[in-house]
């Protein structure tokens, strides 16, 4: 029941939110709904953590072989927790931003939350596709209505990109469905398919392009920096913190275990693309003067690393990816919050116009620096745990011959990441105050509380990652068993 509630609560509260008149009321309503969802998610992790509560399968489109089956496995738990956490954080952090037609804004936000939850929970390919699109549509409206100056074209490009990708995935899904002996869209039928290698290739690409656009992986990333820049910051947080995880989840749940042979044979190509993305994203991030674009490009680099680790198909690397999916989500939301605060205070995001903020706003500076350091994976922070495991996975994999090359190049990305992050911190928070930053004030209590919570999570996971590793143990085993070509060959 937990699994259903996680979708239904935001869905219904989102629909209700359309009917609110008062901005303050709808804001509180959205926050309330977000907290309820968070509580449900937390209950699912703790007290109600029983198989019966976490799974649900209902009749739906029976004659098509599709059912409404949702399930909270380890991966789902983690990502649903991230989604449930992200929305209240975003609502609180942007409490003081004003929106025209606020009821629509919050309604669409909650609807996109429902869509995201559905994507993370769906155990039926058609249902997965439904939610995949359902998460996109509200975001399209959010970005085009409340975004920056060039929002309409930019968001449209984003929409067309993802729509093409998902339609290709749809063809792949239908193709696999035709081949299942019981004509079913259920994930188990897909797992049991075991296609021949030559049939896997094109389906692999049909799926991969959809996921690669969403993450995004080089060279499918061109929509991303513009969209992040133009979207209202609240939406950017969701896009980069939660939505990109849809692509990674797609790889982990729907691609590798279903098409292991093609994933193995094209693994080198994909890993090369991912590694190019890491270097490329980092190099571009170094050039940026706009804070939003800087974080956008750095996100390409981080996602690239995760994608490479996924295709390394090793137990430890996959574990790392899952933990890092969560970490990256909260870290990047932390970064966006500070950027949003800076923009609201000074009306600019240009690094060159800022400086010396640490003198005026020490609390913001300290909290931001911690989040930024977590983002470049300093030990003791959550980023370190994830990236360490991922590098371990990439280095030790038997899936590719070029482990050393990939590891070194990906490692280079980490160094570059440190360069642009530290440089940005130096320029924005240290040095002399400029004309703009002279009269700066520190952040309010609510904002401090949100950032402190994020920092606390960063340290908690960084020092004691065991609960997370235990949570994902079973699902990692399942995925690796199905995806690892070598072990499955031994089995036969």
């Amino acid at each position: 029941m937990i699994a259903v509630l996680l979708i239904v609560v935001p869905l219904l509260s989102g629909l209700l939110a359309f009917f609110f008149k008062n901005e303050k009321a709808v804001r509180s309503w959205a926050l309330f709904s977000g907290i309820v969802t968070l509580v449900i998610s937390a209950l699912g992790l703790t007290i109600l953590n029983k198989a019966a509560n976490l799974e649900f399968s209902g009749e739906w489109l029976g004659n098509l072989g599709s059912s409404f089956s949702v399930k909270l496995d380890g991966l789902g738990q983690l990502l649903c927790l991230l989604t449930a956490l992200a929305f209240p954080i975003v609502f609180v952090a942007t409490w003081n931003s004003h929106y025209k037609n606020a009821n629509r804004f919050f309604a669409l936000m909650l609807l996109s939350q429902a869509g995201l939850m559905g994507v993370f929970l769906a155990m039926d390919a058609l249902l997965f596709y439904f939610f995949w699109e359902l998460a996109l549509i509200p975001v399209y409206f959010l970005c085009s209505q409340w975004g920056g100056e060039k929002r309409i074209q930019v968001t449209f490009k984003f929409f067309i990109y993802t729509f093409v990708g998902s339609l290709l995935m749809l063809i792949g899904i239908i193709y696999l469905y035709q081949l299942t002996p019981d004509h079913s869209f259920s994930i188990q039928s897909f797992y049991n398919l075991r296609l021949e290698g030559n049939k896997q290739t094109w389906v692999f690409w049909a799926f991969f392009v959809a996921f690669a656009i969403k993450m995004p992986i080089f060279p499918f990333h061109t929509w991303q920096p513009d969209t992040y820049e133009q979207s209202p910051t609240a939406v950017t947080m969701i896009l980069s913190g939660v939505m990109v995880k849809m692509g990674l989840l797609g790889l982990l749940r729907w691609l590798l275990p279903v098409l292991p042979l093609a994933s193995y044979s094209w693994g080198d190509v994909v890993m090369s693309m991912a590694v190019i993305g890491i270097i490329y994203g980092s190099l571009l991030a170094m050039q940026q003067d706009d804070l939003k674009r800087l974080v956008a490009y750095s996100s390409i680099a981080h996602i690239g690393l995760m994608c490479a680790a996924v295709f390394a198909v090793s137990r430890i690397g996959t574990q790392g990816v899952m933990i890092q999916m969560f970490n990256h989500g909260i870290n990047i939301i932390g970064l966006w919050i500070v950027i949003e605060l800076i923009e609201r205070q000074f009306g600019t995001r240009k690094i060159s116009e800022l400086g010396g903020l640490a003198q005026k706003a020490p609390a913001m500076a300290i909290l931001f620096v911690i989040v930024a350091l977590a983002n470049i994976a300093l030990p003791l922070t959550n980023g370190f745990v994830g990236e360490f495991l991922m590098f371990n996975g990439i280095f030790s994999t038997a899936g590719t011959k070029y482990t050393l090359v990939f590891t070194i190049l990906a490692g280079l990305g980490i160094i570059l990441g440190a360069v642009y992050t530290l440089n940005m911190i130096r320029k924005v928070f240290y040095g002399n105050t400029g004309t703009l930053t002279e009269s700066a004030h520190d952040i309010s209590f609510g904002e401090k509380a949100v950032l402190t919570a994020i920092v606390a999570a960063i340290f908690m996971i960084g020092i004691y990652p065991k609960p997370m590793i235990e949570l994902t143990n079973t699902i990692v085993d399942t995925i690796i068993n199905k995806s690892d070509v070598f072990s499955s060959m031994k089995g036969h």
Binding site: L61, G62, N63, Y129, F130, E133, L134, I137, F141, S144, Q145, R151, I152, F156, F159, I160, F163, V164, L167, L168, L170, I171, I174, Y175, Y177, Q178
Partner: protein
């Protein structure tokens, strides 16, 4: 052989009644209500027939057969027309003085539709197509003082007669080869009774030529490329209320006839025409979608969009399996309802260009929201009927196991279609303007639109609501 034909007789009969209504009633509202009442009767009669209650027994010697498919299709056509009347019947007043006569023609078209969806003989097909076409020529030119309307009517008439000629020629050739007009009888039995069933049917030149002529003339009627050239001009020139009717109900009904013809008469020869249909499908999708992107008028865009939607419906013909028939039923409903909805809103506007929709969501939030749902459905976004109908079509085409390129091409074209459908959404929501500030809509109109939007979403989540009728 006794056949049941509730809807067929009733629609013709009601057409005659409507004729008298023009001098019996002075008020236009009375005429309108009479027409709506007629449709309710039609729907009721058709539903009775689906449940086995037959009002009229007439021996048609097997030339007409109301099976499940045709009955369901008729229901969709009648219900769509009913909704069309509720939304737009008032706007027909603006077209010209002969208010009742327009309804007469529409009822006659419905009569033709029942023939086209249920024929078992090529003659009945021809009759049905003609009964549909001739009133349509008149409706297209109904706006007598408008030059564009006149031109459209003449163009439609000339081209339409030409294609009807082709169809007649095709029927004659097929008759020459088979010796019968009946579609259900396979070719092999007729030409050479001694042929063993397993042997491939001998293909005479006569028969092949007849089949091709029928393919082309039917393609013309459903505006498939490269026989589509009349469509944009006619749809654009005709009064918008009638374009709405023509582009939806009539088109999908002719599609039902198309499927029936090729399933019954040429089904065994699928391998012969499948590739040709695939090429027509691809061309239709390409031309419809690419040209629609460049339109400046929403009405003309919808004309091209109807071509591109026809491309998707052609998948049913191409695949010709169980999925295809179910898919076509769903597609017919989804496409008709959504397009009728968009047109109903469009008719209320003064400015048919994309700019006319600027700022629409501020003036008419409810209309904008429902229009958005219709457009999303036409674009094939999940949770709407449009998605599932496209899904069925793709699934049907994939089940044939060949010509995968066609499916991928169709999907890319579906992505192109997002361009022009979303332009309207962008104008309504994200752009400022007040081009249509002074439009008035009644609460009844709004509630019908909301109802329609709910139906579109319901069908997109539970297609069984409609498709179960096909079986039970």
């Amino acid at each position: 052989m006794i056949d049941d034909m509730n809807a067929l007789l009733l629609s013709a009969f009601w057409g005659v009644i409507m004729m008298f209504s023009s001098f019996l009633f002075k008020e236009k509202s009375a005429i309108r209500n009479l027409a709506i009442a007629g449709l309710i009767l039609l729907i009721a009669a058709n539903i009775l027939e689906m449940n086995g209650r037959i009002l009229f027994h007439i021996d048609t010697r097997g030339m007409i057969d109301f099976d499940r498919f045709s009955l369901l299709f008729n229901s969709i056509a009648f219900v769509s027309t009913f909704i069309y009347f509720l939304l737009s019947a008032k706007d027909i007043e603006k077209v010209g003085e002969n208010y009742a006569e327009y309804f007469v023609l529409i009822f006659f078209i419905l009569c033709g539709i029942t023939l086209v969806t249920s024929f078992k003989s090529l003659l009945i097909l021809f009759l049905g197509i003609e009964i549909i076409s001739i009133p349509l020529y008149i409706l297209t030119g109904a706006d007598k003082r408008n030059l564009k309307s006149n031109e459209a009517s003449l163009k439609y008439f000339l081209m339409g007669s030409f294609s009807t000629g082709l169809m007649l020629m095709g029927i004659a050739l097929v008759y020459g080869a088979k010796g019968t007009f009946m579609t259900g009888i396979p070719l092999a039995d007729m030409t050479n009774p001694a042929t063993v069933p397993s042997a491939a049917p001998p293909l005479s030149v006569l028969f092949t030529a007849g089949m091709l002529l029928l393919l082309f003339s039917m393609s013309f009627k459903v505006s498939a490329a490269p026989f589509h050239f009349w469509t944009p001009d006619v749809y654009d020139g005709a009064p918008a209320v009638f374009t709405s009717f023509m582009a939806t109900i009539v088109k999908v009904a002719v599609f039902a006839g198309f499927i029936r013809l090729f399933g019954d008469a040429f089904g065994t020869l699928q391998s012969q025409w499948q590739l040709l249909v695939a090429i027509i499908t691809a061309a239709t999708l390409f031309i419809g979608n690419i040209t629609a992107v460049f339109q400046q008028s929403v009405k003309r865009m919808l004309a091209y969009s109807s071509i591109s939607q026809a491309g998707f419906m052609l998948f049913a013909l191409y695949a010709m399996n169980m999925d295809a028939k179910e898919g076509l039923i769903l597609y017919a409903a989804a496409y008709s309802l959504a397009t009728i909805g968009v047109f109903a809103v469009l008719i209320k506007l003064k400015d048919f260009s994309f700019e006319g929709f600027n700022g629409f969501s501020k003036k008419q939030p409810l209309l904008a929201a429902t229009t958005t749902i219709f457009l999303l459905s036409l674009a094939g976004i999940p949770l709407t009927a449009g998605f599932l109908s496209k899904f069925y079509m793709l699934k049907a085409a994939m089940a044939t196991g060949q010509n995968l390129w066609l499916v991928i091409f169709a999907v890319l074209m579906a992505a192109v279609s997002v361009f022009y459908y979303f332009r309207v959404i962008q104008a309504m929501y994200f752009k400022e303007g007040d081009g249509n500030a002074d439009m008035t809509v009644t609460p009844a109109f709004k509630s019908v639109l909301v109802f329609l939007a709910i139906v579109v979403i319901l069908l997109g989540v539970f297609p069984g609501l409609l498709l179960n009728w096909y079986y039970f």
